[in-house]
Amino acid sequence: MKIAVLSGKGGSGKTMVAVNLAVAAQRAIYADCDVEAPNGHLFFKPSRVLTTSVTVQIPQLIRERCTGCRKCVSFCRFNALAYINQQVMIFEDICHACGGCVLVCPEEAFHETTREIGKVTVGAAGSIRVISGDLNPGESEGIPVIRSVINQLPGQGKAFIDSPPGTSCSVMESVRQADYCLLVAESTVFGLHNLMMVHELVQLFQKPHGILLNKCLEGENPSETYAREQHIPIVGRIPYDTSIGRLNAQGKILAQEDRNLEKLFAVLLERLEEEVSRHETVVGSQR
């Protein structure tokens, strides 16, 4: 069971929820795909950490083979190549390492070199396996790092994927293998706007999904209204409570500090397991 926790904006509580769900599940994997700012490890403080490098293949020109046909230059969607003075110039900082230039070159005038863009660390915090993707500063393309994190997830067991904020292709990569998407939504108009964006994304990927209302206040909740109108299951609510914010800011795990919050995440996990098995049954009966 792989559950991706996502939201249209940062700071809505993805990491808090993913971390606490993993703790509630006891034996679980927490996978941090927020590779530009992975911070789940600050809560788990994992030990026995193993680090592996994530690399991409960057093209290099074999100058004497190039005939100047410019097929590579016109193919590159990212404009990382130019042809000046009978020579191909390669701009590594905008290259997305797609390998297209290598494929389209009729003269086989490219070879590829390896460049590190980030790291994946795997460690343990009790019975929880903590996997973190970490993009090197200055790199623009986090997808290969996210893919490396996702590839570490086994087929069995419970995994909670902490997605990057927003609805970018990084987010899409993080949810591709997920069985279920948990959308964390704030109770503001701005929160609703971001919820609608991320809701569109999970529909596009046809992922079973539900909403967790976070920072709930008295009175009208635009995200809750939207959930009702769109018939999206509300799988849980977390109240707006400064003590939650305080514990979280101290790097403490809520479910280990407060009995009520421990219960809240246990109930949420139970509900998610029901939702996932309900969708599996539907898919199973369609086959």
Partner: protein, 124 residues
């Protein structure tokens, strides 16, 4: 001698475009024949690497000089590799910039900025 200037609209009386790579048009002016043409810049709509693509388009025009208010690092690398001089334009009309250039009143561009390609969300 041929020069290029980034332009917002196809008129010699308008100011130079503030962006090099994402300018909608370039004015290409031949100082010998005094002929001006405006070319479209397809890089203006590109997802990323606009500076490199725009610079390639201009290099292919066999220019001698580019007049621009500013220039990113990658675009500058392409233009410099082609041996094209880069001059700092004034915040005046295209025509006034051409006149100033032909009178030798424009200076070479001193500062090359790092480029905006990491802030444009092109990978999103």
């Amino acid at each position: 001698m041929k020069v290029a200037v980034p332009a917002d609209v196809k008129s010699l009386e308008t100011a130079v475009c503030r962006s090099f790579g994402r300018a909608p048009y370039y004015l290409i002016h031949d100082l010998q024949t005094n002929i001006s043409v405006f070319i479209e810049n397809p890089a203006a709509r590109s997802q990323g690497g606009a500076g490199v693509q725009a610079a390639q388009i201009l290099v292919d025009q066999q220019l001698d000089a580019v007049l621009t208010p500013r220039l990113g690092r990658n675009a500058a690398e392409v233009i410099q590799a082609a041996g094209i001089q880069i001059y700092q334009s004034m915040n005046r009309s295209l025509r006034e910039n051409l006149d100033a250039f032909s009178e030798g009143k424009l200076n070479l561009l001193q500062e090359i900025h790092a480029g905006f390609h990491r802030h444009g969300g092109h990978s999103k």
